[in-house]
């Protein structure tokens, strides 16, 4: 998994994509309106049957479906926004300054050295004990 900064940047990029997608959805699927009572919506679909469809063409969706789509997109936007805010709040080491960090790194380095020494010591002792055990096992003869 990527680090949190990258996650955050990805999330922001996704938000931008969602903006575009939302606008596109509304632009593509909105309903057609009449300007005055005497107008009527031309049924371009039937006229253009078989012909190349213009990608700019509006494809109206049923009112309920359109509303649902809008709602879903809006919810997604809010969710993404919340994700972003959460990611911001969990950015690592917000409270540490560079000096703190350097101090911590030095401290950890020391600790690591000590721990490594201890580990080596323990390994040596283990070897010694193993050797003793082996000696005893070898000396035991099966009756």
């Amino acid at each position: 998994m990527a680090d949190r900064l990258t996650q955050l940047q990805d999330a922001v990029d996704q938000l931008a994509n969602q903006f575009v997608a939302s606008i596109y959805y509304v632009n593509k699927h909105h309903d057609l309106q009449t300007l005055s009572a005497t107008d009527s919506v031309r049924d371009t679909k039937k006229e253009n049957e078989g012909a190349q469809r213009d990608p700019q063409d509006v494809e109206p969706l049923p009112a309920q479906q359109f509303k649902d789509g809008q709602r879903e997109l809006a919810q997604d936007l809010i969710t993404k926004e919340q994700q972003i805010e959460f990611l911001i709040s969990v950015l690592p080491g917000l409270e540490n300054s560079e000096k703190d960090q350097e101090r911590m790194i030095k401290q950890l380095e020391e600790d690591l050295k000590v721990a490594e020494e201890q580990r080596k010591q323990a390994l040596k002792e283990k070897e010694a004990v193993l050797a003793r055990l082996e000696g005893v096992l070898r000396n035991v003869k099966r009756p």
Partner: protein
């Protein structure tokens, strides 16, 4: 040629692939030697070498073909199976009518089309890292270093540079770290000291007051700025939708605002990167420390267990035989053996 293919087709079905290849090679040589149709420059005295030249040429061209197995042909020259396969196309009877010259030409063209590789070949010096070479250079280093007792730690220091190295060892010497801070990787030049260009340099309005210095101050105010920008993004989007619904012609200004906001957000995060890198290092070190400690603990526990068992053994040895420590068990065992021997004699 027809005879040759005929021979090939007459092969018993049980022979292995390599046997087929050997067989067909032998047949091929025999055919090439007996027929005078190899090419205009072929003289009867050296048809073999001429053909080998042609074959080698095609092998080098077909280096990157899928089949990489070598076979050793009778004339001690290595020929790759792929080249053999390109000598024997899939439909032999048709080729039997074509002349050898066009056939060879065809073979030359064939690999050309398949040269495109998904990955570049590794740099040639990986081949120098053989076992012999590494041992050789480590012994050379040992003889060169001032303190022979001191162990060389590759993580902290570079090995001493040896000036007069034999050619095959030259690549085992790590290069000097880039002095100027510029290095090349995959054909591109990179600068270590490449600073992050500020927003003003990129002609983008800076929406936040930069914290006194990007790395020194507290970072919580940074988070606050980020949150503010995130909220502004959403608000600006709503405004954009509003503008679009009333007068779509005026979208440009709002889009520009959104763009500025996004770029600011990313820029702020990129400024944060060095901090994040240090933070990750701290986390990794903590992790390592924990692991090391856990390992030590495990070893100690096991040691104590084994010691306990040893103690127990010594005690029972003492109890049974009533003899001195350590020697008890050995002698006890000897006693048993003596007992057994007496019984069976």
């Amino acid at each position: 040629m027809r005879m040759f293919w005929w021979n090939l087709l007459q092969l018993p079905s049980s022979v292995s692939a390599s046997e087929v290849l050997h067989f067909s090679l032998a047949k091929f040589w025999a055919w090439a030697l007996s027929s005078g149709t190899l090419g205009t420059t072929t003289s009867p005295q050296q048809p073999r070498s001429h053909l080998n030249k042609q074959l080698e040429f095609t092998t080098s061209r077909s280096n990157r073909r899928l089949l990489y197995t070598y076979i050793q042909c009778s004339s001690k020259r290595t020929i790759r199976i792929s080249s053999i396969i390109s000598i024997f196309p899939i439909e032999p009877p048709h080729l039997a009518q074509t002349s050898t010259g066009t056939e060879l030409q065809k073979m030359e063209e064939q690999p050309e089309a398949r040269l495109a590789a998904s990955f570049p070949a590794p740099p040639p010096f990986w081949q120098s890292f053989t076992e012999e070479n590494t041992t050789l250079i480590s012994s050379l280093r040992a003889s060169q270093s001032v303190e022979p007792s001191k162990e060389f730690d590759p993580s902290t220091t570079l090995p001493p540079r040896i000036l007069d190295l034999p050619a095959e060892l030259r690549y085992l010497q790590p290069p000097e770290p880039p002095a100027e801070g510029v290095y090349r990787c995959f054909g591109d030049a990179y600068d270590l000291n490449n600073p992050l260009p500020s927003l003003e340099e990129q002609d983008i309005q800076q929406l936040y007051i930069p914290p006194s210095s990007p790395n020194a101050g507290k970072h919580s105010d940074r988070a606050l700025i980020l949150k503010r920008i995130a909220k502004s993004l959403l608000l600006n989007f709503i405004e954009l939708v509003g503008i679009m619904s009333i007068n779509p012609e005026h979208y440009a200004e709002k889009i520009q605002d959104l763009r500025t906001l996004f770029i600011n957000f990313h820029h702020l995060l990129n400024e944060y990167r060095p901090h994040q890198a240090r933070e990750s290092l701290i986390l990794m070190m903590q992790d390592q420390l924990e692991k090391s400690r856990a390992e030590t603990k495990g070893i100690m526990e096991m040691k104590e267990k084994v010691e306990g068992i040893l103690e127990g053994l010594t005690k029972t040895g003492l109890g049974d035989e009533g003899k001195g420590m350590g020697g008890g068990m050995v002698e006890g065992g000897v006693d048993v053996w003596e007992e057994l021997e007496r019984e069976f004699c």
